[in-house]
């Protein structure tokens, strides 16, 4: 008879590590702070330059993680799907008067999802690296189409579009706090959805395809459907993030900011944060957003006179490249794993101090 474990037959799933309660509490506190405290203590710079892009990049990272981290389909087209979503939302807002903002964003996401499925179709025949050809094609093609065909940007002579007013239920959200809360709400909601998906049969099908697709087919997982679904949902997330990027962060969108470099940036977010980890997407985004700022401070503090400050971009490149190498060698599962390991060590230390066992 099985000795140690009673079977847990609760309807809710268990988390992978053994401490669900501590984590859920931490998450609740974090959310409470984010929603209830930050709006009152943050200043405009923090909202506009740090928190909002951080949230948006986390969302894209999450989208890419679902596709690459969970479903195992490599993609270098995240920025293209962002652009698709942003421009689609803009056009919906523009051409369908009276359409609520959230509906436009959702529709924009859907358009991005459809495009994602289109470029994801080759994944049914092509595996591994070769798949990056498809998403790279998406990246180049979409950027080209959005620049070349004026219709997308309402024939604006500069090809750059400015954001429509952010009004939800009569509330004007165009100030920094408003934009922050809008972004936070959407990102929180979509993260919850991603969390559910990942722990459901859908998520398990993805991971099965990632780990061994021949076996997955043999046990009856619909490979075709699952792969395309991964592309669809991932692109939806990227599309929504794109709309937020344009309307909540920059106030404008032009295709150049959502180019291959951006796609690489998202890939780095996922690698550094942790492939196949939802928390990792956030950690990676935090890292990517804070790194240039940190480097800037370091350069100004220590390297004045040694290195030309105009070289900061190149220094960032070197730092980024080195960090990626470091992570790949030392901790391939990224920051998420590093932190998890850190907490485990901390927990062990603490539990050794307080010997009477705290029942789980």
């Amino acid at each position: 008879m099985s000795s140690s474990n009673e079977t847990h037959l609760s309807g809710a799933f268990e988390l992978r590590s053994a401490r669900p309660h501590a984590r859920t509490w931490a998450l609740a506190v974090l959310l409470a702070v984010a929603f209830l405290v930050v709006p009152f203590i943050g200043d405009d710079y923090w909202f506009s330059a740090i928190l909002i892009p951080l949230l948006v990049l986390s969302l894209v990272g999450l989208g890419l993680n679902l596709l690459t981290g969970y479903a195992g389909q490599l993609s270098l087209g995240s920025a293209a799907f962002m652009a698709a979503g942003a421009f689609a939302t803009y056009n919906f807002e523009l051409r369908i008067p009276g359409l609520p903002l959230l509906a436009s964003v959702a529709l924009g996401g859907l358009v991005a999802a459809l495009i994602g499925v289109g470029f994801g179709l080759p994944s049914l025949r092509i595996k591994g690296f070769y798949l990056i050809v498809s998403t790279l094609a998406a990246q180049f093609f979409i950027q080209w189409a959005l620049t070349k065909f004026g219709w997308f940007s309402n024939d604006n002579p500069s090809g750059v579009i400015s954001a429509p007013p952010l009004v939800i239920l009569g509330q004007d959200l165009s100030n920094p706090v408003g934009r922050y809360l809008l972004t936070l709400t959407i990102v929180t909601f979509l993260t919850w959805v991603a969390w559910n998906l990942v722990r459901s049969p859908t998520g398990r099908s993805w991971m099965a395809i990632r780990d061994m697709d021949t076996a997955a087919a043999v046990i009856g997982i619909p490979i075709f459907k699952s792969k395309l679904l991964a592309f669809a949902i991932s692109s939806f997330y990227c599309g929504v993030a794109g709309s937020l990027w344009a309307f909540a962060y920059l106030g404008t969108v032009e295709p150049h900011g959502l180019d291959l470099n951006r796609s690489f940036q998202v890939l780095f977010i996922v690698i550094i944060g942790g492939i196949g980890s939802i928390a990792g997407s956030f950690l990676g985004a935090i890292f990517i957003v804070l790194l240039p700022i940190a480097l800037d401070h370091v350069a100004r503090a220590f390297l004045v006179g040694i290195v030309d400050p105009s070289n900061t971009e190149n220094l960032q490149k070197i730092a980024m490249g080195s960090l990626i190498l470091w992570f790949l060698v030392k901790e391939p599962e990224g920051l998420a794993r590093l932190i998890e390991v850190g907490f485990e060590k901390l927990r062990k230390r603490l539990s050794r101090r307080f010997v009477p066992a705290v029942s789980n």
Binding site: F129, V133, W144, F149, L267, G321, V329, P332
Partner: protein
Amino acid sequence: MQFFIEVLVGGLLAGIMYSLVAIGFVLIYKASGVFNFAQGSMVLFSALTYVGVLELGVPAWEALAVALAVMVSLAFVIERSVLRPLVNRSPLTLFLATLGVSFVLEGVAQVVWGAQVHGLDLGISDEPIDFSGVFVSKFDLFAAAVAAGLVLVLGVLFNKTRLGTALRAVADDPLAALSVGISLPKIWVVVWSVAGIVGLVAGLLWGARLGVQFSLSLIVLKALPVLIIGGFSSIPGTLVGGLIVGASEKLAEVYVGSLINGGIEVWFSYVVALAFLLVRPSGLFGEPNVERV
């Protein structure tokens, strides 16, 4: 008709330039199974080193020697700090690592040598030669000859020398190669050095064409369709792939692009590559993978 031939020939020759970069990829892929995204940065890095040293007043041949030495040292560094620690990891991890390497190389190259465009003169002018009405650039022909020469030399290296056999053994099964006494680190240094030298050749030619500047490293993005069409593991395949990409791209741009606002060169070769992948996943000359469960 004349115009068509000119565009075609121009495209073919442009394609050969892509092949030059792709050859470096194939080398590393053939010998280590790694898809080296940093190849483009190596092209840039090597060319910048040459030009930078040249601008310091060093005579051409010595500058060349310096650039070669730098690329070989780079191979040592990469083997030690990247390849060795990641020896048993998945191809994806290695690819991501080369991504990291490319960033470091680009950053270092530009911090050291500056981000401005450097002119490069190889002594071969771009003047057009008249082939009964069709004008072909002398420089392009030279580049094509160089590429063909490289392919020949490398073909001989891989198939007729002991080193080549060792390289192929390592690519096929590193553990088995180890067990017959082949030193993996040595082989990798050799391969990456050769790839670096090939990169230098490509860098010099491209640099003479475009000027030595950051956008050189973006040529890697053009090399990818070449590899897919030609096959990742075939050196002659890069020539064929390059010809196809170059020609189709130019023809499409001229004949189709004019209908839809132009600029389709950015994505056309990718779409062609995609079509190839769907029909022949291992490229024209590559080896298909048989998966046994």
